[in-house]
Homo-oligomer: 368 residues x 2
C-alpha cells in the first residue's frame, strides 16, 4: 500500500544487494518512518522479538527471509556445518515469538526447500526464491481476503441505503502486519477503493498501541476516514448502533475456529454478540493451526511489565518514554487472548468466507 | 486513608481558615502529591470539570463545598442578590459534569439548607455544616460498604482454603473518588485490614488512567498487593480462573439496577458473565437515581479527543505529555458506558448487599 503516495510492502529484498533484506522499523511509527537493513539471522531475530516487525503474516515472511539470510551467511566449509547453521537459525527464529503459527509454518517450508536443493549456490537461490514466494503468497492471500470481505461491506452499505459502514478493528491487522493489503484492513481498503463509504473505529490497543500508532497511520496514508478510540469504548459504540461490523486479524486460529488474537479481542467479541453486531476474523490460511482442536492449547505470550508501565509518544519533536504507574507498582502483560469459535460469526480467508467451524474450514481447505 | 502513614480525606475544610476548602489535585498523582486551595465557586467548578477531583461521591462532596464557598463569597447587598448568586453557583457547578448523579443531589440538598436558614450568617453556618455533613455521610456510607463487602471476600477466601482473593477493579472507585475508604475499594481495604489475603488486578483505565495512576497508588500506599494490567487483559484473566470477583464503582445507578460507570465497565461485566465470575457494584445510595428506570436514559459525557491522543507520564523527573496517534488522526472520547442490571450479580450499599433489581433496592431503601 502507499506511503506518501509511494507503494511499499512491509518487507522486501533490497534492490541490487542480494545480502540484505529491508523492513520498516515499525517501533517508530507514526512519528518517524525508518527503513532498516537486515543482513544476519541475529538482526532478523531481534527485529521479530523486539517488534520492529509484528503481525502473524509478516512474522512468517520475515522469518522466511531470515532463513534466506542464514543460507547466504552460513559457513560453506562442509554440507553438515552449513545445514547445522541453517537449523540453528531456524531454532533461533522459532524462539522469538510463541503465538503466531505462521512463524513455524514459514520456517518448516524454508528448511524443506533448502534441504531439497543441491549445492550451496542452489540452496541460496532456492531459499531466496522461496522467501519471495512466501512473501508474495501472503500478499496475494491478503488481496483475496479483500475481494471476499468487500462483499460483506457492500452488503451492509446496501442495507444502510449507502450510508458509511462503520467498521471496528482491534490492533493492527493492516498491511504493516502482513506484507501488503493487511488481513482485517483488506476488505476496508477494497471497499474504500471501490467507492463504498467506510469509517473505521480504531481501537488504540494497549499496551503497545498498534491501533493508535499503526492502523491509524495506515488508514490516514490511504485516505480512509477513521477515529481512534480507547479499547474501553467499543462496547458503548456497539450498544448505540455505531458499529456495523467488527473485523479483526488473528495470530493463530485452530481448525475448529477458535481465534487467538491481540489481548482484548475476546472482550470485543463478547460485546458484538451481546449487541447483534457481526464479528468477523480475516486470515490467510497460513494462520490456521491444523493440529490444535481447542484454542486454549495455543500458547499465550507474556511480555515484560514495563510495556504496560511505560508508554512512548512524541514530545517536542522527539520520541519519549513516560512512566504511567507508581514506580513501585508491578504490571502483568499478556499479549493475546482467545476468542472461542462460538463468538465468531465468520472467517474471511483467501478462498472465501465461512463459519468458524471445522466442517466449513475443511470445506474451504480440503487438502489440509 | 493513609498517605505516607498520615490519614487523609480527599476533601476537607482548611483548618483555621473558614474561607478555604482543600483538595488533593489528583491530576498529578501518582508522580506528585499536590494539595490545592479552593476559595471560589469558579475554582471549585474548574476543579470538578478539569478533574482535579473526580469520582461520583467526591464530585458531590466537592459541589457541596462549592456551594458553601458561594455562601461565603455571595454579595450580602440584598437577600435577592445573595440568593441569585447561590443559584448561579449551583447552575455553574451542575454544568461541570453530566453523568454523576451525586452532583445534582448534593446541590439540591445544599440549596434547600441555605434557603431554609435565616440571615446571611445563619446561611453560611448552615451551608458549612451541611457540606461537612454530606462529606461525613459519604465517608460513613463507604465505611459501611466495606463492612458489607468484607463478607463477600471472606466467603471467597474460605472457599479457596485461605488463598488470596483476586479482585479485579476498573477505574478508581477508591477513597480518592470518594471522601474516604472508597466504594469498590472499601471491601478490599476492610479485608486487607482484617488479615484476609487479597490481590487486586488494577485496570489501567484509559484514557485518563485513573486505575494505573490512582488506584495503584492508593493500594500501594495502604500496602495492598496489586498488579496493573491494560484494560484489554481482564477477559483473559477471567478465562483462566485468575479473577475471583469483580468490584467496580458507579457514577449513576438506576433504581432498576442499571449501572453507568467508567467506559469499559460493560466489557468486564460481559466477560464476568461469560466466565461465571461474580460481578459486583459498590455504591453509596447517593449514587442511585430514583427517577430513571432505563439506564440508557443516563446522559453519557463526551470529553475532548486529545485525552485519547495524548497521555501524561513521568520522564526524567518531570511530568510530560506525549502524542500517541498520528497528528492528523481524530479521536472520540466517551467517558462512561452502561452495564445493564442483567450483568450485575449484586450491589454493595451502605445498608447491605442486594440484587440489581428495583424490588431489592426498594427493599433496602423503602423511604425512597
Amino acid at each position: 500500500m502507499k506511503i506518501n503516495g509511494q507503494p511499499y510492502r512491509a518487507i522486501w529484498p533490497k534492490p541490487d544487494d542480494p545480502r540484505t533484506v529491508q523492513i520498516i522499523d515499525q517501533r517508530h511509527l507514526p512519528h518517524q518512518f525508518i527503513i532498516e537493513d537486515l543482513k544476519t539471522v541475529d538482526q532478523t531475530a531481534a527485529a521479530i522479538q523486539d517488534m520492529h516487525v509484528r503481525g502473524a503474516p509478516l512474522i512468517g515472511a520475515t522469518a522466511a527471509f531470515g532463513i534466506y539470510l542464514a543460507a547466504v551467511t552460513a559457513p560453506q566449509s562442509s554440507p553438515e556445518e552449513y545445514s547445522a547453521f541453517i537449523q540453528a537459525a531456524a531454532d533461533q527464529l522459532r524462539a522469538t515469538r510463541p503465538t503466531a503459527i505462521n512463524l513455524a509454518w514459514a520456517l518448516e517450508k524454508m528448511l524443506a526447500v533448502i534441504s531439497a536443493a543441491g549445492g550451496f549456490e542452489e540452496k541460496i537461490s532456492a531459499a531466496r526464491q522461496s522467501a519471495i514466494q512466501i512473501s508474495d503468497d501472503e500478499a496475494e492471500a491478503c488481496r483475496m481476503i479483500g475481494v471476499h470481505g468487500l462483499d460483506l461491506i457492500a452488503g451492509i452499505t446496501k442495507k444502510k441505503d449507502g450510508a458509511p459502514v462503520n467498521v471496528l478493528t482491534h490492533c493492527n491487522a493492516g498491511w504493516l502486519a502482513c506484507v501488503d493489503y493487511g488481513t482485517a484492513t483488506a476488505p476496508i481498503y477494497a471497499a474504500h477503493d471501490a467507492g463504498i463509504p467506510v469509517h473505521v473505529w480504531v481501537d488504540e490497543t494497549r499496551p503497545r498501541n498498534q491501533g493508535a500508532r499503526l492502523t491509524a497511520w495506515e488508514l490516514g496514508q490511504h485516505g480512509v476516514p477513521h477515529t481512534v478510540i480507547v479499547d474501553n469504548a467499543g462496547g458503548h459504540l456497539m450498544q448505540h448502533g455505531m458499529v456495523d461490523i467488527v473485523i479483526v486479524g488473528t495470530d493463530r486460529t485452530t481448525y475448529t475456529g477458535d481465534v487467538a488474537n491481540k489481548i482484548g479481542t475476546y472482550l470485543k467479541a463478547l460485546a458484538a454478540k451481546d449487541n447483534g453486531v457481526p464479528f468477523y476474523v480475516a486470515l490467510p490460511s497460513s494462520t490456521i493451526d491444523w493440529t490444535i482442536r481447542d484454542g486454549f492449547e495455543i500458547p499465550i505470550e507474556q511480555r515484560g511489565g514495563d510495556e504496560v508501565r511505560y508508554i512512548q509518544g512524541l514530545h517536542a519533536g522527539e520520541i519519549k518514554s513516560v512512566l504511567l504507574t507508581p514506580d513501585t507498582s508491578p504490571a502483568a502483560n499478556y499479549a493475546f487472548d482467545l476468542t472461542p469459535a462460538r463468538l465468531v460469526d465468520g472467517l474471511i480467508t483467501e478462498r472465501g468466507t465461512c463459519h468458524a467451524s471445522e466442517e466449513e474450514l475443511r470445506g474451504l481447505f480440503p487438502e489440509k
